[in-house]
């Protein structure tokens, strides 16, 4: 009952202790690209005041992995850019379990995950954004877009926003679709072979994430993996 409107209703927010993890200290910044199965990926990052994190996670074909990732935004004004690409085929299975916990005011987080699933692969993306009471002026965005290349591939996407605060900007978007045949026909009518049209479509699909990595070697590996999937 909202009989006493001056008392802030924090709903079901359950305070939890800040997780232990890689700390990014006040005012510092961290930019890292992790390839799943090759690099050790910390499960938790703690972002201090005015710190800035830019984390990219890449899943190349031939992977079976659960990827838990937690971000604790404990310092005022922290910002996190989290991006990911997952390319799965055959019997690959990948499952992202992400928590973006805004604990302090004026923090920003931006997540973009683009996945392509072929063969009988199974992918799941669970993205949770928590805005704690007191974390006013939070900006938190999350996008997860997926392409299914075959009838047997599966993608599950589950965005979850838990907002215990009025003064925030949050949004999420999730899509699962196929490569557009209309685009393919247009390109083929210009003489681009069908397989190459798919490669162009998939490369453009992951390009927004890949361009943020500034890593030509990795970009080459992603392109090679895409060519094998087309």
């Amino acid at each position: 009952m909202a009989s006493n409107s001056s008392e802030k209703d924090h709903g079901n927010y359950v305070p939890t202790p800040v997780g232990a993890g890689v700390g990014v200290r006040d005012g510092e910044s961290l930019k890292e690209v992790f390839v799943v199965g090759e690099d050790h990926i910390p499960e938790c990052f703690v972002a201090g005041k005015d710190s800035s994190l830019d984390i990219t996670v890449i899943v190349l074909p031939g992977c079976k992995a659960g990827i838990p990732l937690k971000f604790e935004l404990t310092g005022e004004g922290a910002s996190v850019r989290l991006s990911g690409i997952f390319l799965c085929k055959d019997d690959d299975g990948v499952s992202f379990d992400i928590t973006m916990h805004h604990r302090a005011p004026r923090c920003k987080s931006n997540q973009v995950f683009n996945g392509i699933a072929a063969g009988r692969s199974q992918c799941s993306f669970s993205g949770r954004i928590i805005v704690a009471p007191g974390a006013s002026l939070t900006e938190a965005y999350q996008e997860n877009h997926n392409i299914l290349l075959g009838d047997l591939a599966r993608v599950g996407t589950k965005p979850r926003l838990e907002i215990y605060n009025d003064d925030v900007k949050c949004s999420h978007g999730a899509t699962v679709g196929k490569l557009s045949e209309e685009e393919q026909f247009y390109m083929r009518s210009r003489g681009i072979p069908e397989e190459e049209t798919k490669v162009l479509q998939m490369i453009s699909f992951v390009a927004p994430v890949l361009s943020g990595c500034d890593d030509p070697v990795l970009a080459g590996r992603v392109e090679a993996a895409i060519r094998e999937m087309a």
Binding site: F185, Y186, M187, R188, R190, G191, I192, L200
Partner: protein, 248 residues
């Protein structure tokens, strides 16, 4: 008569269960410009779709020969390599793919199919610049994503630019005049005329005479309810303009 470039014989085609083309016959000689005119729903766009091999359009009987080859046995990209080009009525947006990258891939795929080396970057950029000037596209368009955020006129100019880049033997212009103002129409028509040589043919598909004021056809066909119901010279255009398609 000049060499026959395209020969359509008793062509029947359907989309789903619906038969749209009901026995089309058409011959186009090298160097000729043909107009195919007809009311909405006559089958004009189906004809262009079948000529370019669009999926979901089924040819149920009849044949199409292009320079002596069985066109219907060829994939859309193989038809492009053989020299067929369609200027789309509704050009498709391809997010994330720039015009430069799109055209480089298209030009070099065709060259590869013909056993030629890919164009080197400076050669390609020179060609791109020259052809963009032909349709008065500003240079910054080269970096833009294909058709994304283009106005109707810009999309149509982009079609003619692509045509200039690919240098087809047979150009099919499907309602290229629709949605164009007079200035854009003139630019498009000038582009089409500049590309036309005695070696090349074109099919102009339209239901208005607009574009035909600038691109003069040698032969005019009237397509109605899936059949060619009249064939004539440019005088047919005036006849249609005066009395409509009801007379056929």
């Amino acid at each position: 008569m000049s060499e026959i470039l395209l020969k359509i014989t008793d062509l029947h085609a359907s989309v789903g269960d619906k038969e749209i083309l009901k026995g089309v016959n058409l011959e186009i000689g090298r160097g000729e410009i043909h107009a195919v005119m007809g009311p909405n729903g006559a089958g004009k766009s189906t004809l262009s779709a079948v000529l370019t091999g669009k999926p979901d359009y089924n040819v149920t009987s009849g044949t199409i020969e292009f320079m002596g080859r069985d066109l219907l046995a060829m994939k859309p990209e193989e038809r492009a390599w053989a020299g067929i080009f369609l200027s789309f009525q509704y050009p498709v947006e391809i997010p994330g793919v720039t015009i430069t990258n799109f055209m480089k891939t298209a030009v070099n795929s065709s060259r590869k199919a013909r056993g030629l080396e890919p164009l080197k970057a400076p050669q390609f950029m020179k060609l791109l610049k020259e052809k963009m000037e032909l349709v008065r596209m500003r240079p910054e368009f080269a970096k833009r994503e294909v058709n994304v955020g283009f106005s109707g006129g810009e999309k149509k100019r982009n079609e003619i630019f692509q045509m200039a880049m690919l240098d087809p033997v047979l150009a099919i212009l499907d309602e290229t005049d629709s949605g164009l103002d007079v200035d854009a129409l003139k630019i498009v028509a000038d582009g089409v005329n500049a590309l036309h040589t005695p070696e090349k043919s074109a099919i102009v598909i339209t239901h208005y005479q607009k574009l035909l004021d600038y691109v003069r056809p040698d032969v005019v066909h009237v397509l109605k309810a899936g059949r060619i119901v009249a064939v004539g010279g440019a005088e047919l255009i005036t006849k249609i303009e005066n009395d409509g398609f009801e007379q056929f």
